[in-house]
Symmetry: C2
Subunit: 344 residues, 2 copies
């Protein structure tokens, strides 16, 4: 007998001035929705956990409305369309997007839902929440569209062990570049060179960053994929080559430590002087080309040229546990929950 109930995790309490705990959530259920005209219903296969979720529970993180008490937790997932009255999203198709913490989601496919079809069937659909989703697309378009790497280029990556950074390195290796990564621990640096395809690594917490950049990038820097900003960006700018491309993908450290002042970049003038480029981008602007990135990267994943790490807990009931695990730093790779059986 097919299921008739849609289990949902609801916000029970706000984690004000304290970590998230299991009792902040309450399991509820509702009937499995029927699609109205223009809508479609998705059976969620994997649900993704992200650090931003605590902020949704508190204040919406300045991006979205804060959740109400009793509201279904917000989150992205990948799933299969099980019923549709929408002309674009059809029954049987795989989609990723905002599905919430629930077994069945309903959407009209409008921009709010950020629903994107998953085209590839070479590798598990869970990848649509990471390496073949926004994380991988950010690496792909940032590197190839802005970074434009050539085989003889030196590519430097900050935030090198993260989801985006580790994908950038492997993508740059498909071109044949020499790739150096910057990360914050010896353990991560070891991971960079032993597992993630980096040719060399810099530990920014213990090493002299400019001196190590000089030593490891003797021919200068052609592409800098910057996930961090601040002093590391400035040190890299001091070492860029003519026509260098600096991909600005994040600015975690763009403020002076302990202040709200942005870090003043002494070497940004080199962009103009060296006919170089510094560019930011919004990954959603590349939506018309997501399928291109997905198909190219699925092939590389299949061939083992592009690896990724997932940490999957089994069972919808484990969603709160998975989120807490993330905050405790216990996850190894992208934290996911398998909500229902992967049909492929």
């Amino acid at each position: 007998m097919p299921p008739t109930k849609n289990r949902q995790w609801l916000l029970a309490e706000r984690p004000i001035d304290r970590p998230v705990k299991l009792t902040d959530f309450k399991l509820g259920e509702s009937p499995i929705p029927e699609p109205k005209d223009g809508e479609f219903v998705i059976r969620v296969i994997y649900s993704s956990l992200a650090p931003v979720m605590r902020f949704y529970m508190l204040d919406g993180a300045g991006i979205e409305k804060p959740l109400e008490i009793g509201e279904v937790m917000r989150g992205r997932g990948v799933g299969q369309i099980v019923a549709s009255r929408n002309s674009i999203f059809k029954e049987g198709e795989i989609v990723q997007g905002k599905m919430g913490w629930q077994e069945y989601a309903v959407s009209d496919g409008s921009p709010y839902w950020m629903m994107y079809k998953v085209h590839q069937r070479l590798v598990p659909v869970s990848t649509a929440l990471g390496i073949l989703g926004m994380t991988g697309f950010t690496a792909y378009f940032g590197l190839f569209d802005i970074g434009k790497p050539k085989p003889t280029d030196t590519v430097l990556v900050s935030g090198a062990a993260g989801g985006v950074g580790s994908s950038v390195a492997q993508l740059a290796k498909t071109v044949g570049c020499y790739v150096v990564g910057i990360a914050g621990s010896d353990e991560k640096c070891k991971l960079l060179t032993e597992k993630l395809g980096y040719d060399a690594a810099i530990n920014y917490k213990t090493e002299d960053i400019p001196a190590r950049m000089d030593a490891l990038c003797p021919k200068g820097i052609d592409v800098f994929f910057d996930n961090v900003g601040g002093p590391i960006l400035d040190a890299a700018l001091a070492r860029i080559n003519k026509y260098a491309r600096v991909v600005s993908c994040g600015g975690i450290s763009q403020y002076i430590a302990g202040s709200n002042e942005p870090y003043p970049l002494k070497n940004a003038y080199k962009i103009g002087r060296l006919n170089a480029l510094l560019q930011g981008f919004l990954i959603y602007d590349y939506e018309p080309r997501f399928a291109e990135a997905e198909v190219a990267m699925a092939q590389w994943v299949k061939e083992g040229k592009l690896t990724y790490q997932e940490d999957v807990l089994d069972g919808f009931e484990r969603m709160p546990e998975a989120l807490i695990r993330l905050y405790e730093g216990k996850n190894r790779g992208k934290q996911l929950v398998r909500v229902s059986k992967d049909p492929f």
Copy 2:
């Protein structure tokens, strides 16, 4: 009887620790050259004077070898090919390039000579040394290729009264943009709004730059064409819009006043944050497209949409006088000497 002699201005003395004077030059002559295989001979029509020339007389300005005493002065010109044994540059064609201070120049057309054909015949060929030459091309490609202006954009220009800046404004007006210029005197600011098509002007020497930018760019800045760098660039970066394009075309003021330290840019991080772009460029990389810019701009000049100012002295013998005039600030617009009759 056709001329048989080629008059030349030679370096007689180096202007060490003093201004350039007439006796630094000596008029010489040589036979009009005959082209060897692969060469062509140009009758110079206009010769261009530039501030860099004093450095050629002293130390080559770090760009080229210093001139020897007795050597023909270096400089660019526009002229007509009068004899050719070169398969690309043909008799009768108009070219601009390195011709030196002489009535006839010989070249093999190799990259050193920077010889570019002049295609347009709508407006005087003297324009090939300014508005339809590197100055205008810099404005054209910097604005259209990097700045990508849209009709509703606010375009801000520093070094606004200069050859490049004044062309940028008029080109931006062809698109329909709102254009604000920054210059260093009330006289120049008046010129900007009354003659050069600017909608508004900022005097950076007497006005509060950030406050004036706020007042004159109430919708923020979409394109900043930067001929200056330094604190003006930083103030503009603080006011850029999402997806803004900052064209880095010069950095006269990129150093902290009175020091060799580059000016630290507090707001360069906004490039990444706002999915914006900061880019430098080398105008010679656009060579394959020079003809496109020339033809488009010649039409605008013809239609009166693009104005330019030339200050032409008549007669080859006046070359030293013209250069000194430039250093004395007496020129109004591009300083040229008419070396021979314009055939058009």
